[in-house]
């Protein structure tokens, strides 16, 4: 009988990739968004296998939970009459191929160069404290800058949506 965690990994990986494929290939944009939930949950499952429960919970709360908002925007912003043909292919195959290939190469190189640490034995029982130390200690400034960046993005989005010069 094979190792259960290996089996679980392959099942989760297959589910994640199949769901990610469905996100791209399905023609109904709401179905695509729902498969995105499945993709994120699959990734969260892989985090659980790596004993990073906190990260898995963040993945579910932040990414999978936010898909609800994504769907609302998809419904509100889709101008097509027929929702069944709201996520179609277009004809820019060449540009898409170039961009995807470049992205794929960057990711492959990045993962290839990474020196993977194989931790001996068990991971620590609780990694919440370590994550907090990293966020609020060593990486406090990048963390805060990212927060300000997000705030700017939100304010900008609201301004764009409301229209800057609209008279009250």
């Amino acid at each position: 009988m094979p190792d259960i965690s290996t089996l679980a990994f392959w099942l989760l990986a297959a589910m994640t990739i199949a769901a990610a494929g469905a996100v791209v290939l399905l023609k109904n944009i709401v179905h695509s968004a729902l498969y995105l939930v499945l993709t994120f949950v699959g990734v969260a499952g892989i985090y659980v296998l790596l004993q990073a429960e906190f990260l898995a919970a963040v993945q579910v709360l932040v990414y999978a939970g936010a898909v609800a908002v994504l769907i609302v925007f998809a419904v509100m912003l889709t101008r097509r009459g027929d929702i069944r043909a709201s996520n179609l292919f277009n004809i820019n195959y060449l540009a898409a191929a170039v961009v995807s290939l470049a992205l794929f190469m960057v990711i492959t190189m990045a993962t290839g160069r990474m020196a993977w640490m194989a931790t001996p034995g068990q991971a620590p029982a609780s990694n919440v404290g370590a994550i907090a130390d990293a966020f609020l200690g060593r990486f406090a400034i990048p963390f805060e800058i990212a927060a300000v960046l997000l705030l700017v993005a939100i304010v900008g989005a609201i301004l764009l949506a409301r229209g800057g010069k609209e008279e009250q």
Binding site: L34, A57, A64, V72
Partner: protein, 346 residues
């Protein structure tokens, strides 16, 4: 009496003594799941009865009183009736989304019970990120409601689910922030440790504001009046649930009451000392406290009229959110001052 449930679990575990470890883990997991499901079903059935009785008393009516003594069997009869109803799927519906939504709504409702300490040593899974797990899993409810509302292909259902997203995503934030005060005091996300930390003083005394914010936000999260805009019988005729019939409708109803019990149980765990109490068995204390919380939720529901959607959202962003942030700040400063006074250092 105290150990009745832990003894039962130990007994079942004893049967499996010779089995391989993975089988033991699996079997015990199923035992816990069955226990939690029984808890949810029994509670939900009698909460519906309780809600009808309480609403009746508040409106000077009698409420269900025909089936069984004092109408105690009314909910059972209703459940049987729902089981026998035809399962109707509208022709224009997004069929699979519509069907799956009624099942998915129940998954987070059950999963959150994993970290609830029902009594001394009676916690299904003692996760070290307990409270955070609860919040993460509970956030998936929004998607299920949205799926139901979208799948029905009905304008009232879609409007209701749009409201659900606006309301539940917004109120999640003060809900989470109100729990941070407790987590800072306990120094842990683990529900068993938070209960243990309250052996001297319940956190409702140290965090009254956080409790109030949690209570309001939780009412909004479980879509109960005065925050039941998602269903809004008078304007949206039950919102996302409008096209559901029979057992699918019952699943939505069931998970609504399951969520009511779980947010009450979380309030008891974090603010009311969990299962701790004198004389009576710990699980009985837990149940008594949960039912006090549920009674307050019902009291609120039958006392206040529904709030308007723009008031609902501005109340969240302009009142609850700043208050919960201030509560975190005051708690942090308070902890440091306390440490300075007692330990003589930060």
């Amino acid at each position: 009496m105290e150990n009745i449930f832990t003894d039962l679990a130990a007994l079942i575990n004893g049967f499996l003594a010779g089995a391989p470890p993975w089988l033991q883990t699996l079997a015990m997991g199923i035992v816990y799941l069955v226990g939690v499901l029984a808890f949810i079903f029994l509670n939900a059935i009698y909460l519906i009865y309780l809600e009808r009785k309480i609403s009746a008393y508040m409106q000077q009516r009698i409420g269900p009183n025909r089936l069984g003594p004092h109408g105690l069997l009314q909910s059972v009869a209703d459940a049987v009736k729902l089981l026998g109803k035809e399962d109707i799927i509208p022709r224009g519906a997004d069929k699979w989304v519509f069907i799956i939504a009624s099942v998915i709504i129940f998954i987070p409702a059950v999963m959150v019970y994993a970290i609830i300490p029902f009594g001394k040593g009676m916690i299904p899974v003692d996760l070290n990120i307990g409270v955070f797990y609860f919040l993460a899993v509970a956030s998936m409810t929004t998607i299920a409601i949205l799926m139901g509302g979208w799948g029905a292909n009905n304008k009232y259902a879609l409007l209701g689910s749009m409201r659900a997203v606006a309301q539940m995503v917004s109120y999640e934030i003060p809900l989470t922030f109100s729990l941070l005060g407790v987590i800072m005091l306990a120094g842990s996300l683990q529900t068993s440790q938070i209960v243990a930390a309250q052996s001297n003083v319940w956190y409702i005394l140290l965090q009254p504001l956080a409790f109030l914010i949690y209570f309001i936000a939780a009412t909004a999260e479980v879509n109960r009046a005065p925050f039941d805009l998602v269903e809004g019988e008078q304007e949206l005729i039950a919102g996302p649930y409008i096209e559901y019939t029979g057992m699918r409708y019952a699943l939505f109803y069931l998970s609504e009451y399951a969520n009511l019990v779980s947010v009450s149980a979380l309030a008891v765990t974090l603010f009311l000392g969990g299962w701790q109490g004198p004389w009576l068995p710990s699980w009985l204390w837990f149940l008594i406290k949960v039912y006090i919380m549920i009674f307050i939720f019902m009291w609120l529901r039958w006392t206040f009229p529904r709030i308007r959607i723009d008031h609902l959202l501005s109340f969240n962003w302009k009142v609850l959110l700043p208050l919960s942030l201030a509560n975190i700040l005051v708690t942090g400063v308070g902890i440091k001052i306390y440490q300075l006074l007692t330990l003589g250092r930060w």
